[in-house]
Symmetry: C2
Subunit: 200 residues, 2 copies
């Protein structure tokens, strides 16, 4: 057409940075904000700039935090808990927090071991985790990494770090998910559920 609308085109292009947003969706989002929700659009612009600028990582557990220590690590009870749960991402941490079942501390890997992608122990902050294990007040490490090949490899690696220090290690139970129908489960899940069966 023409040189048209630099700002509008810039906005549509910028929206494509969001996961799952292609050109069509980006255009719909831009028009929707311009037509019906300019205040919402401004608030989002502000929130993005502030968040990208000021959110860093907790110095102890590595989860996203705008303060040096996150709220959990600052908590007198939880921050020095002898129970440490290792998760792959802040989203996983949030999911566990929402169950309300865990009151220890976390260590957030922000990824998982993937040598082919250049993600080794250092990238996951495992040197920091080792220092914490060395400090001596951690009694049990719960490995809550993903039940995938890479998540398992990561769990094995960290389990080894704990074994060397005689720290108890556990792994989240594998099995049939709540509400799961056997007919629709994949074979690996079913195998694990069998081999891990408990008396009833």
């Amino acid at each position: 057409m023409t040189d048209a609308l630099p700002l509008l085109q810039q906005l549509i292009d910028a929206l494509k940075a969001l996961p799952g947003v292609g050109p069509k969706t980006a255009q719909r989002m831009a028009f929707q904000l311009l037509e019906r929700n300019r205040d919402g659009g401004k608030a989002l612009g502000d929130a993005l700039l502030k968040a990208m600028e000021h959110i860093g990582h907790c110095a102890q557990c590595r989860t996203f935090s705008e303060t040096e220590l996150c709220a959990i690590c600052r908590d007198v009870e939880r921050g020095q808990s002898s129970l440490l749960c290792v998760v792959g991402s802040s989203a996983d941490l949030q999911a566990i927090e929402q169950t309300g079942q865990f009151d220890g501390r976390y260590f957030v890997l922000m990824g998982q071991l993937s040598p082919l992608d250049g993600i080794g122990p250092a990238e996951l902050g495992l040197d920091v985790l080792e220092q914490q294990l060395n400090a001596g007040n951690i009694e049990e490490v719960i490995l809550a990494t993903n039940q995938t090949v890479e998540g398992e490899a990561t769990a094995f690696y960290i389990a080894e770090l704990c074994h060397r220090r005689q720290i108890t290690v556990s792994r989240l139970a594998q099995g049939v998910p709540f509400g799961g129908e056997l007919e629709y489960l994949d074979g690996s899940t079913l195998s694990y559920a069998f081999s891990g069966r408990k008396s009833f």
Copy 2:
């Protein structure tokens, strides 16, 4: 959990202003930008603030524009064309531009008549359209509003404005869409396609 992360929570809440984005998707978007694309997040924040602030409407055709007249209306040939196409939204204008089939000017209603929602002729800028029709250099108006009840009502209303001024009016053809399989068409489309059949 705790007071946690005001900025992160603000960002997640703000992302929900985007159409089709619920709490889960908003959280995934926020984490993705923070983990992997802070530059993209900043660029989006910037683009949003600039767009919401500086994009207004073209004084002639009402489409989104950051200048008084949009690029099409500024074009010497197109801006004073005797052929005017009326569309419901800037997205519809874009869709027609992408066909490359139309080289006249537009009038963008930014909505359609909907008395129950308080959207009457004034809200659609039909007074501005009337002034343009009165100016005398428009020979044909193509009604490209949606083929819905409200789009049809809007088209009828504007057709009447043209008839009173002896200006030719046309409406986009209705019928089987390209690639459309009769088996899956709704009854109304099929009826229109029948009644509008052409010699072959």
